[in-house]
Symmetry: C2
Subunit: 181 residues, 2 copies
DNA sequence: ACCTGAACACCGTTCAAGT
DNA sequence: ACCTGAACACCGTTCAAGT
């Protein structure tokens, strides 16, 4: 009778695979994580993964989308906090997945899915930061460059180990209270 | 009679291999470049490379060292130019090898040679920028964070495509003329 | 000292075959 | 529709063997 057997399992199984990928990518690293390893963690055979995702880069994008969605949802809570605090929170939150910054840049060169996700991510970041800068009264001429610089600072802080004081100092240099006129 | 046959060839051959690696890494990308490809470009068999370098990561470091030495030597020419111009020149100069930024970050996680080179590179950058900031009269408290931010900005500009105006705007935001009191 | 041919373990991915 | 066993082409690296 059921035209599609277990119609809700499909999404659930995919989610399991993506969850396994997120964990392995962040703990072991993208390149060091074989499809076989992810498959084992998800309780399937390596080739089964290919029924759910096209290839390893699509799996990376799925993992990134999940991570981003969670982070954005949590970030919503601190909507009214100063930008520096929000950026600081993002850095702290994503430190766990710092490996992925370099991986995204490296893979973007030769995988169009990753490149497309990467572009969209930056567009989103730019838009979020720019609108908040506008709200804070930063003059329009400075907004674009400040938004770009903010993203670069966040990526740089993620990719390189920096102490708490240093991290705050860098972000305040970009978004600091002295920037509000 | 010669205890070591062709004593000067050793360095020359190594240089050929590293040159081939630099070219292939920048044109095709590090991951996409197989040892076989580098070997072919250098006119040797794949396994011959292993007589000169320990592994692919050591070859990457050799390539980075060559690139950095060349860039620093050329940069010496513009020692007296404003910092913004120097940074702009560096970005423009290294755009050809932009792929390597992400690769270094990605490989640093699991290769100690690459990690060590990466650390040294940042220490050098910090020192260079800090000393120039001091010369420009930037107060000591701001120097460290500004130096860090400069590196992050340069890396960000390299990793992401940005137009000339945008690139300059970002760098001026960090090092701009308005920063001199 | 220098270089090679042949092999090793492993990788992402495919595919014919099962249910 | 979903999953698998077995295979494919390729990878970085090793090693015994040559000169």
């Amino acid at each position: 009778m059921p035209r599609n057997r277990r119609p809700q399992d499909r999404g659930a199984k995919l989610a399991e695979i993506v969850d396994a990928a997120v964990t392995q990518f962040s703990e072991v690293g993208f390149e060091q994580t074989s499809m076989a390893r992810i498959a084992a963690a998800a309780g399937v055979t390596p080739n089964t993964i290919y029924w759910y995702v096209a290839d390893k880069d699509h799996l990376l994008v799925a993992a990134l989308e999940l991570l981003l969605a969670e982070a954005l949802s949590d970030l919503g809570t601190m909507d009214r906090e100063p930008l520096v605090e929000q950026a600081l929170w993002v850095v702290d939150r994503l430190r766990r997945h710092k490996t992925l910054v370099g991986v995204v840049h490296a893979r973007s060169e030769h995988s169009s899915v990753v490149a497309t996700w990467h572009d969209g991510f930056h567009a989103l970041m730019d838009e979020m930061v720019t609108s908040r800068l506008a709200r804070d009264g930063v003059p329009e001429r400075q907004r674009d460059a400040t938004a770009r610089l903010t993203t670069f600072a966040v990526e740089g802080l993620l990719a390189h180990p920096t102490g708490p004081g240093e991290t705050r100092a860098v972000l305040e240099l970009v978004l600091g209270p002295d920037r509000r006129p």
